[in-house]
């Protein structure tokens, strides 16, 4: 079921020795004072560059919280979390914002900008990159054709199907060639066929660019695409060799 971990990565990242994501003794709480409620307990996780990881587990187990912490969307409270070698504990607002630029997100709901066309939505991701006009256009068109939507590039999200919107969202996440892709149940809103398609496209593009993927999903049909599966329950990361069996 699980793809061989030692499969050679084609990552082009300059510093291969540095893990993509490194988490040590991470705790996280919601609320304040007496209402303070722990949600993550002593998380330790190392994700290498080029790895494709699927994180699964029951609802409310803290998967999304962990994902938002890795995505620099929430401040780290206790422990250590570093992304591409940069520690996020005590990071300033500006550092957090800049850290987000190395990460491509794929949300459960596509979260496209409704007032922009498919092309413009992807272009938005390049707004914060140093890129020439020609290079931007080339990259947008090639990523659009990679997700099979070059003929829909001037459509607004409201004129696209659910699967097409999610493919635009993937294209948007990939066009800036991020080192890490974080995806939260990208197939939840899709039917079996388009869900599988979307993840395969993601995997293919990510392997081409050598980027690391962390995918949160409940969808058993796509587990075979992962290099490694991790399982979360009640705020703990369960590190067991039979994860795949549990999930099944």
């Amino acid at each position: 079921m699980i793809t061989n971990l030692s499969e050679p990565s084609i990552s082009i990242a300059p510093n291969l020795s540095e893990p993509a994501i490194s988490i040590a003794h991470l705790n996280h709480y919601y609320g304040q004072g007496s209402l303070r409620k722990p949600v993550l307990f002593d998380i330790n996780l190392q994700i290498d560059r080029g790895e494709i990881i699927i994180m699964t587990g029951p609802s409310g187990s803290g998967k999304t919280t962990l994902l938002t912490l890795m995505g620099s969307l929430r401040s780290i409270q206790e422990g250590s979390l570093s992304i591409l070698g940069q520690e996020l504990l005590h990071a300033s607002k500006e550092q957090m914002t800049l850290a987000r630029r190395d990460i491509g997100y794929i949300f459960q709901a596509h979260n496209l900008l409704n007032f922009l066309t498919a092309y413009q939505n992807i272009e938005m991701a390049l707004e914060i990159q140093e890129v020439t006009a020609i290079a931007a256009d080339t990259r947008i068109r090639s990523v659009l054709s990679a997700v099979g939507l070059e003929h829909r590039m001037d459509y607004y999200p409201s004129d696209l199907s659910g699967g097409q919107k999610q493919r635009v969202a993937i294209a948007r996440a990939l066009v800036s060639q991020p080192k890490i892709i974080l995806a939260d149940e990208p197939t939840a809103a899709l039917d079996k066929k388009s869900g599988r398609d979307v993840v395969e496209i993601m995997e293919k593009l990510a392997r081409e660019q050598g980027c690391t993927i962390l995918l949160v999903t409940h969808d058993n049909r796509i587990l075979d695409l992962a290099d490694r599966i991790i399982y979360m329950e009640d705020g703990y990361l369960v590190n067991r060799s039979d994860v795949a069996a549990i999930v099944q």
């Binding site: 999304t64 994902l67 938002t68 995505g71 969307l73 929430r74 500006e94 914002t97 800049l98 850290a99 987000r100 630029r101 990460i103 997100y105 949300f107 459960q108 709901a109 979260n111 900008l113 409704n114 007032f115 922009l116 413009q120 272009e123 938005m124 991701a125 390049l126 707004e127 914060i128 140093e130 890129v131 020439t132 006009a133 020609i134 290079a135 931007a136 607004y156 939260d184």
Partner: protein, 390 residues
């Protein structure tokens, strides 16, 4: 990256966002236009009030004006003896002096016999007292008894005098039981205090207004020799004349009239308040539009934050939106205001005139109005939490 290759042009997000929701864009533009029209109208009325109120003052053919020390305005007059004027004539540098009688008299509309007060100006027909072309061309005719010149800009309540006169009709009406004949037309705009003017000779004036005593006049016009120093002459007059009269330059005389209207009547305040209210109405409209726009796009803004856009980027988007709305609302607002100025001008004869200064001023007010609204609306942006969108 080399410097020769052009950088990608940034997306004009604010415009793309506004454009997508046509209905909201139109409502916003209409709201701002409405506020601009209101501001233009209030300022237009205010401007018309002041420029019409001093048309008479600026027409006086003399550098110095004398009035009673108790005179405040054309509608708040006091008389003084014309001897003061002849005393002033003795000052070196004075070329000539001319007294003017002013009084409201009862004008009978020759068409329907209704009686309306008309503002009569009595001048010496031998002197050039008023620099008004219609008066200058016809003043000699006023030597004849019971003659007058009628006001071209007067309201219709006084009868269609100008049209009938131009058609060659002889126009006679009754003033103080005398048959007075109109001998010509001149142009002077009505003001908020005066509906119509009548120019006549001093002798005819006293016949039409028998309650007025000859020799007690309302305004003295003092013309100086070309080389005279106005300030020196004024100083000399002030030292010589008793304090029952005051002398001032013609400009100061006009300024005092404006000051009277703006400070001593509710009119100036009313229009100023109107501008403030229009500004507030406009601000509320822009704020409502921007607030609902920001609220509707909150998840999208949160997505942008999650992608690594700074808060500043989103602030700029909202401020750009507000300025685009300001510019788009301002253009139709100005055009509509120009149209209403024309209509008001025709309906009331008030000299409603647009000037560049006012256009610039209203544009600045519109920009401030929009930015202010944006500044309040962007506080909502803080609630766009990127962690919420997963």
């Amino acid at each position: 990256m080399t410097k020769i290759t052009p950088k990608k042009k940034p997306l004009f997000l604010s415009w793309l966002q506004l454009r997508k929701e046509r209905a909201r864009l139109i409502v916003a533009i209409a709201g701002i236009s409405f506020a601009d029209v209101l501001m233009f109208l209030q300022m237009g009325f205010r401007g018309a009030l002041f420029s019409s109120a001093v048309e008479f003052h600026h027409s006086l053919n003399g550098e110095i004006v004398m009035t009673s020390s108790r005179t405040r305005s054309l509608i708040s007059l006091d008389r003084f003896t014309e001897r003061r004027l002849y005393q002033a004539a003795g000052v070196t540098g004075v070329a000539s002096v001319s007294p003017i009688y002013l009084n409201a008299i009862q004008w009978r509309n020759p068409e329907n016999k209704e009686i309306w007060d008309i503002y009569a100006i009595g001048i010496n027909p031998e002197h050039q007292v008023l620099n008004i072309p219609g008066v200058e061309a016809n003043r000699q005719k006023l030597r004849q008894p019971d003659t007058a010149l009628f006001n071209l800009g007067s309201r219709k309540e006084f009868g269609a005098i100008a049209q009938r006169f131009d058609a060659g009709e002889a126009i006679t009406t009754e003033i103080n039981e005398r048959q007075v004949q109109i001998q010509g037309l001149f142009k002077l705009s009505p003001t908020f205090g005066i509906n119509a003017y009548l120019v006549t000779s001093d002798i005819n004036f006293l016949r039409m207004a028998p309650f007025r005593q000859g020799g007690l006049v309302d305004v003295g016009v003092i013309k100086l020799k070309p080389d005279a120093d106005v300030q020196a002459v004024l100083a000399e007059m002030r030292s010589r004349l008793p304090n029952d009269v005051k002398v001032m330059t013609r400009d100061d005389y006009a300024k005092a009239e404006v000051a009277f209207w703006s400070a001593s009547t509710p009119v100036g305040y009313t229009f100023d308040l109107g501008v403030v209210i229009a500004f507030i109405v406009g601000s509320v409209i822009v704020y409502q539009i921007l607030y609902s726009d920001v609220t509707d796009h909150l998840p999208e803004y949160a997505t942008l934050k999650a992608m690594g856009f700074r808060d500043r980027y989103l602030l700029i988007v909202v401020f750009q939106e507000s300025l685009i709305l300001a510019a788009f609302g301002f253009i139709p607002g100005t055009l509509i205001a120009l149209g209403i100025y024309q209509i008001t001008n025709l309906a009331t004869m008030l000299p409603m005139a647009m000037d560049l200064g006012r256009i610039v001023f209203v544009f600045i007010l519109t920009a401030i109005m929009s930015s202010l609204s944006a500044a309040i609306a962007v506080r909502k942006l803080q609630t766009a939490d990127p962690a919420d969108i997963f």
